[in-house]
Symmetry: C2
Subunit: 513 residues, 2 copies
């Protein structure tokens, strides 16, 4: 589609023109101005063009949080190529499946993942493969051994209707699906967020310690250049260094999940410190937050802003305004301006306080899944996305999330889909039935556990089954325990009742007295 | 067009849900919360429906700055009707022409303009006419003697592609043209402005003393509900009361033209005061600002932000960021994020420092003029709007406006088009030639003056001609002086050389020694 007025100037280019000398990205090793970041993106785009990347090419990126990732995202935008960020925690088998599903033309990796990239290349000999090198001395990120193509024209404009990224998420079926993320979604998400949280172009600085291969991290790279504000990128979450950055570097916004925030507060306690007033927003997403944590933050005046979103909504969709944090403790807030929210109960809009499926509509919501028209049609009706999550709104329209997508387990901010783990277990020839649910965990919020009913005559042990699943499932998806049981709880129609699995476990445990 | 994702929730409705008790609009007489404003808009929409207003009806509004105007704007949005704000300074003849040109279905006026509205109704017996009453005791704005229609459904959504308003502007031809203003333009203008100026939802307050029938005023009514911030609306500019509001009411942003700012500074001097730090932005538009004024503001730390825009760009298109105010004194700044800027010199993009026509592109720029495809085609090419204004950009892309649209005269912030005045003068049977140009004026910046060559044998005097023009031209367009001359300066092709008119005047004046 070429809709009049849907072209914008390239956001990074514009920020580089507006404020060339301003710091765009800081990492512990190096920091770059907007002019440097823009120049590096152009240079890398020319190398990607030489590799064979063109408009609409699908380019998988396997990299840790850092400048190579950041530059690659912007370089692909200059070519109109589509970013497919790979979750680095996935196993080789999972990544192979994903590259095949998305029909990737090329794979780009950073130094940390060169070995894995080689393994993936072996599985797909036709895949174009290139490696990102960060040269600290020359202050540049390049593709190893590739001369730039100076002839391929780069895009100066962004077409809002074009696809910026395809991001995989599983959902209830257990099969990962590629969510189409357009530039329009990123733009509206950024603007909706700024209308709610405010925008202080002179002083804002956003600290990013969430994985860039998830929408919550990636969307901040876009906010970086749309807002023209500095971001600080950490490879990994480390409470101590993040607290130090907040104290010393003028961080004004930070995105975290509950487990991170708990560790940050514990570290603050250890050092008997508190946060400076420059920290104006702690954006807390990735699943329901424990109420004691919210109360603790309120007591300590930590400016927590709860938020609810998913890949399909390009991160934040519903956010609690800072002014409401105390009055509406436990709520995810109200929809951002571009977003409309309905709670649907059996095809009717539910009344306040009546639970139902959380449905979202608006220009920051995806139009569908890559090459899966049935999944798209099953999820989106007349522009309304049925998230599958359960919640209600109060009489003032504030959302309370009761349950994430059916039986979704959220472990340290990562989504874990029971159906996906069950499918792996069921693929074992000696497994008859499998059921997975979440178990509370003090460190990760939840961890998955599995219940398996073996075929008659099988002598498979839990450990053998775990060894079987290990190469097939990312570590955070691997069941913490596999219980061999005689049967699984099912309703009269034979549907597995995952919610009953925990009770079922208690029933199976030896009585304590 | 029904583009997916182009529907947004009604902005006022959303602000009323987000912050029902927050003050939305203050006037010297009364102030309303967002909930009250929303409820009043719904009530007035039902009365307008009873009057016969429907989706896409064109409704002329003749009202001074105040709550009736504000409510009417939002009521029309709930019906999907098109607002046609009438410049209250126009003469009866000019307003009659405009109502005919826009093919208005209805005319709505406030108490101050009831008499004029009756005169207009006489000229158009088929026109639906209704009168707005502000009832301070009951805190409401109603249509006189009209019972609400409770059956017509109101719109909960805004279609960004729909037309919100048609605003008349003259341009070089002298014939006013209706600029199509879509919701999309208003949205992108608001967002582009907030990305540049910042957005402080908890504390921002925008003071509005510009006429609401111009885009610079009207666009603030949209920002009011998109940002969810308070606005203070003054009927007229009065330096003393505006300075008092800035001191006492936490005004953070104010939109002014140069002549207003000069008077505000003079009043400050009289009272030996200075502005509080809560005033973070004095948005200075409506024509080039005198350099001494800018230097004076810099000396006094008045946070002036220069801006360039026009009706066709939905107000602000190019703005000097606060941080650049001193370094780039005299520049109008850089384009807002949604806007692209080119300087065109004979169909080529000009080099830095090379003057040419200022051209703009982006989603906040109009797609054209109402029922004037030729004028649209002559002005817009491939999405690029040729403003007709002359300027250049420096090597950093900062715009310097040299001359407003060809021979545009800007008098106290109002655009005065020489061709429009010349057309009136030429319509007199005894006038052979007419030329109009601006003359510097200490109070208004510029005022129009006219040069007229009479037909052979005519004994028309300047005063007689002025009396003839008075009912046909708004006061600010009426020539301050009409000079009867023997000939007008023309080039070899016979084209009037308006720029030479002032020199021509000097030549005609008696020598001083």
């Amino acid at each position: 589609m070429n809709i009049p007025g849907s072209q914008l100037p390239n956001w990074l280019q514009r920020s580089a023109e507006n404020t060339p000398q301003k710091i765009a990205v800081s990492t512990p090793e190096i920091e770059w101005s907007f002019a440097e970041l823009n120049q590096q993106a152009i240079q890398l785009a020319r190398q990607l063009a030489a590799l064979g990347v063109r408009q609409n090419s699908r380019v998988a990126l396997l990299a840790s949080n850092g400048l190579p990732f950041v530059v690659c995202v912007h370089a692909l935008m200059r070519l109109g190529a589509i970013l497919v960020p790979l979750n680095v925690r996935l196993t080789l088998e999972e990544q192979v499946w994903l590259l095949r599903d998305v029909d990737a033309l090329a794979l780009v990796s950073d130094q940390q993942y060169h070995t894995r990239a080689s393994e993936l290349k072996q599985a797909f000999p036709a895949l174009l493969e290139a490696r990102l090198l960060l040269d600290l001395a020359d202050r540049q990120v390049t593709l190893q051994n590739i001369a730039p193509d100076l002839h391929t024209p780069l895009l100066d404009e962004i077409d809002l209707e074009a696809i910026q990224a395809i991001m995989y998420t599983s959902g209830t079926t257990g099969t990962p699906k590629g969510v189409l993320i357009t530039y329009k979604m990123q733009w509206w998400n950024a603007l909706g967020s700024s209308l709610n949280l405010g925008h202080h172009p002179e002083s804002d600085c956003w600290l990013l310690c969430m994985p860039l291969f998830h929408i919550g991290g990636l969307s901040i790279l876009l906010k970086n250049v749309i807002y023209g504000i500095r971001i600080i990128v950490y490879e990994k979450f480390d409470a101590r260094s993040i607290n130090q950055a907040i104290q010393a570097q003028g961080v004004s916004i930070i995105s975290v999940v509950a487990v991170m925030l708990q560790r940050m507060l514990a570290d603050l306690d250890d050092r008997q410190q508190h946060y400076p007033t420059t920290l104006r927003c702690v954006l807390l997403g990735g699943g329901p937050a424990p109420r004691p944590l919210l109360e603790e933050c309120a007591r300590r005046h930590v400016p927590v802003v709860q938020t609810y979103g998913l890949t399909e909504s390009c991160s934040q969709a519903v956010t609690l305004a800072p002014g409401d944090a105390l009055r509406k403790l436990g709520s995810a807030g109200r929809p951002l301006l571009p977003v409309q929210l309905h709670i649907m109960d059996e095809e009717k809009v539910a009344q306040p306080h009546q639970p139902g499926i959380i449905c979202l509509k608006g220009p920051s919501i995806t139009t569908g899944y890559d090459h899966r028209p049935e999944a798209t049609a099953a999820t989106i009706t007349d522009g309304w996305l049925a998230t599958g999550d359960i919640g209600y709104v109060d009489e003032e329209g504030y959302l309370y999330v009761l349950d994430r997508r059916n039986d979704l387990i959220i472990s340290g901010g990562e989504n874990v889909y029971p159906a996906e783990i069950e499918a792996i277990l069921l693929a074992h020839p000696e497994v008859e039935e499998a059921g997975v649910c979440g178990q509370a965990d003090p460190q990760w919020g939840q961890v998955p556990i599995a219940f398996v009913h073996l075929k008659a005559g099988s002598s498979l042990s839990s450990d053998m089954l775990l060894a079987y699943a290990t190469p097939k499932l990312a570590r955070y998806k691997l069941p913490r325990a596999i219980h061999i049981v005689d049967q699984l709880p099912r309703n009269s129609a034979g549907k597995l009742l995952r919610r009953e699995l925990p009770n079922y476990l208690i029933a199976k445990m030896p009585k304590k007295h």
